[in-house]
């Protein structure tokens, strides 16, 4: 103890005074009340702050435990009393407790207590000295944070927002609100109360009934409908009597509103895509609590999370609807529309989408397709399986897609021909990760094509039989009459022979076109000398024409290819040159060599071909129709066949021509060095 410079007595008193003041200041600052209980007599002493905590006027404390018992919440009293008894029985020196008190205005607070218990030598309890402090705000903050965490979790858990909003409303009661209501505007703009929560189910029932019989005034300048209209939240920390009187539409309603006893209200809007779609209402009533600014912020955060959840759910529903629409559109496409992920021949390849039509086409259910890895390949006809897999992989790996044909086995064992057009699905790096496409039943088309091929094959055979005998007889006549040298007869026979030759070529060309179309043109490739081929072709045509055919350039190159088919190309070029240069007498076959290829050009000085036809002249059945002159005879097969033959030899085919100034047709072939 510090010594004073004046009288010792006065010094002690003033020092005591200083300590007392400090003690009281500290209590006030910390809002901590002090109590001292004589456990033998039951007499109590409460500090001023303790009186204030328990809602007593200063100096009105009774000095017994009566005031304490009066205030402690009836639900907590037995527990707290029992806890103290236990401590005394066990001779514990620590004292700790937590309980609610009900203040005269009905406000409920939570207090915590801490202290020491003193015992005599025999263990008889003598005294309890301790402190109480108000824990309500801290507890409410904890409750709020817990609510926020739980509500956020619920909102993120499901796309069924009606259910999640209901859960959030339930979570809010009783710690964050006495009442929590969620309203949403439906697609017609009508207000729907999707969730309401209160601790008493009868009250909820009553509130629902009231909402039906007395819907909110959509034009009100404050409250729920105002929030919906403006999109701005409303925060009423204290609901005054005035406000209740203003809101009541009738004396009965005023009575009712008073009975509910609104003390504080927050209404926060729910927004999706910047549009107000509803609101959440938090109400404090019977607990007599008042919302703080912090509470308001909390509800705003919850509302924005709920908004996001609703927005997500709505977007998902839209996507779902859109998917359903597309599903319905493709369901009736008469072909299989599909999407698959993984390499087409991989065991893990799986179908991600397939339209309903597949069931009609093959008999397997959509589920079988979706749930069996690599199902498409397992039902390919065994004879086609290897090729179909290889083609699919090639389409996948080239990154370009394409068309392929194979047979699929239906569930009933029948097989059908299908044609599949598919394209790879690429990731951001451009790497194929799957395929999507359309697969059509082409059995009927295949059958028609087969019949057409068979017909053309038969027809060419049947046409060639009489041609053969005409040709033989003509040549017999030519040989017989040669000695007579009857010029008119021999000349006529020559003509017949040439025309029979042309007819034979036409029949062969028809067959070739059909073979090319069905991919059945077979090449018999071997090494041969180019000079022999050129010489043979020129010789055979020179016999039949007055045009002089000249060979220019070095021609002895070795070529790998089908000699007959390449001869067919050269003959085609030469006969065209003869046909389209009726006035000119000279045709040149020029051979030039580039690094790894040889170019054969057949040049005439005939009528020429105007530029517009150059690109299409190698198309199947392409014919030049000339307005000024005339149309030229032919079926547009020769150059098409030639171009196909050259392509199959990894060569190129092209032309240079100016109208009226002759034409040069070229083809190039790789040389064997």
């Amino acid at each position: 103890m510090k010594k004073s410079s004046s009288s010792p007595q006065a010094g002690i008193e003033s020092e005591f005074q200083i300590y007392k003041e400090r003690f009281e200041q500290a209590q006030k600052a910390g809002n901590v009340g002090v109590f001292d209980i004589d456990l033998v007599t039951g007499k109590q002493w409460w500090s001023a702050v303790e009186e204030e905590l328990f809602g007593l006027l200063p100096g009105t404390f009774s000095g017994t435990d009566r005031d304490w018992r009066d205030r402690v919440h009836p639900a907590d009293l037995p527990r707290v009393t029992k806890e103290l008894k236990e401590r005394l029985k066990n001779k514990l020196e620590d004292y700790e407790s937590e309980f609610r008190i009900v203040l005269p205005d009905g406000n409920i607070r939570t207090l915590r207590g801490k202290g020491n218990i003193y015992y005599d030598a025999k263990g008889k309890p003598l005294r309890l000295i301790g402190v109480n402090y108000d824990f309500t705000e801290r507890m409410q903050l904890e409750e709020s944070l817990r609510f926020k965490a739980e509500a956020s979790k619920v909102l993120a858990s499901s796309l069924d927002y009606q259910t999640t909003l209901n859960s959030v409303a339930r979570l809010a009661v009783p710690h964050v609100a006495d009442w929590c209501v969620v309203d949403l505007l439906d697609s017609n703009g009508a207000l729907q109360m999707v969730a309401i929560s209160h601790s008493d189910p009868n009250q909820v029932k009553w509130a629902r009934e009231r909402r039906r019989s007395n819907p909110p005034d959509m034009k009100a300048t404050s409250g729920l409908t105002n929030v919906l209209r403006t999109g701005k939240p409303e925060f009423h920390p204290v609901i005054t009597n005035d406000m209740i009187e203003k809101a009541a539409k009738s004396p009965e309603e005023l009575q009712l509103l008073r009975k509910i006893g609104f003390s504080s209200v927050i209404i926060v809007p729910l927004k999706a895509h910047d549009k107000t779609i509803g609101a959440m209402t938090f109400v404090m009533a019977e607990s007599k609590r008042h919302y703080s600014k912090l509470d308001f912020q909390l509800t705003e955060q919850i509302a924005s999370r709920a908004s996001l959840a609703i927005e997500n759910a709505q977007l998902y529903a839209e996507v779902d609807e859109e998917r359903e629409r597309l599903n319905n559109i493709v369901a009736n496409v008469p072909g299989v529309v599909w999407e698959a992920y993984g390499k087409p021949d991989a065991a893990k390849q799986r179908i991600d989408f397939i339209n309903k039509y597949v069931e009609k086409m093959l008999g397997y259910t959509v589920d079988e397709w979706l749930n069996t890895p690599n199902f498409w390949l397992t039902i390919v006809h065994p004879a086609d399986r290897e090729k179909a897999a290889a083609q699919a992989v090639a389409k996948f790996e080239s990154g370009e897609g394409g068309v392929s044909r194979f047979r699929w086995l239906k569930k009933n064992g029948e097989s059908i021909w299908v044609e599949t057009h598919s394209y790879p699905i690429l990731d951001k790096q451009g790497k194929a990760i799957g395929m999507r496409g359309v697969t059509m039943d082409v059995s009927e088309r295949m059958e028609l094509e087969r019949r057409k091929d068979e017909f053309i094959s038969m027809a060419s055979h049947e046409l060639k039989t009489p041609l053969t005998s005409i040709k033989v007889f003509t040549q017999i006549l030519q040989r017989t009459l040669k000695e007579d040298s009857n010029t008119l007869v021999t000349k006529s026979l020559d003509r017949i022979n040439v025309q029979v030759g042309k007819l034979t070529t036409l029949v062969s060309d028809l067959l070739d076109v059909s073979k090319i179309q069905s991919g059945k043109l077979e090449l018999r490739k071997a090494n041969f000398m180019l000079n022999t081929l050129i010489q043979d072709c020129v010789d055979s045509l020179q016999e039949t024409t007055d045009h002089k055919i000249i060979i220019k350039g070095e021609t002895s190159y070795q070529i790998y290819g089908d000699e007959d088919r390449l001869g067919q190309v050269l003959i085609n070029f030469l006969t065209n040159a003869i046909k389209y240069s009726p006035e000119a007498g000279k045709i040149t076959v020029a051979v030039t060599k580039e690094t790894e290829r040889v170019i054969i050009g057949v040049k005439d000085n005939g009528i020429g071909i105007s530029k517009e036809h150059h690109n299409r002249i190698f198309d199947r059945f392409y014919r030049i129709y000339d307005n000024e002159d005339k149309t030229y005879p032919g079926l547009g097969m020769g150059l098409y066949i030639s171009s196909q033959i050259i392509k199959r030899h990894e060569g190129q085919i092209w032309l240079k021509s100016t109208k009226g100034k002759g034409t040069t047709f070229y083809f190039s072939l790789p040389i064997i060095s």
Partner: protein, 118 residues
Amino acid sequence: MKKVLIIDDDDSILEALQIAVEMGGYEVKSTSSADSIIKLCEKFKPDLIISDLLLSGVDGRQLIQELQGQTSTKKIPIILLSAHPEGNKIAQTYNVTAFLAKPFEISELLSLISQYTS
């Protein structure tokens, strides 16, 4: 004089070929039926046979196999004639002496006959 047997089910071609080959200086026997061809060969003893691929009644392919399977006929050269689009391929499969696609030049046929009878 060398002897040539011609088999073709088309009478017109058969007649034309008979004349043409005779003009080429051969003794010719022609038949439109492949029936009992082995007997005919044993009797006529041709130096060369000219046959069409598709014959009504007995198939030309069957006929070739019969001829190639008989000791008395297996050494006789066969020239196969056909207007069939796959004629050339079939001729290779059956290992005949030569193949000529219909229609053909008489000169081509005569040069083949002379080549395989000399």
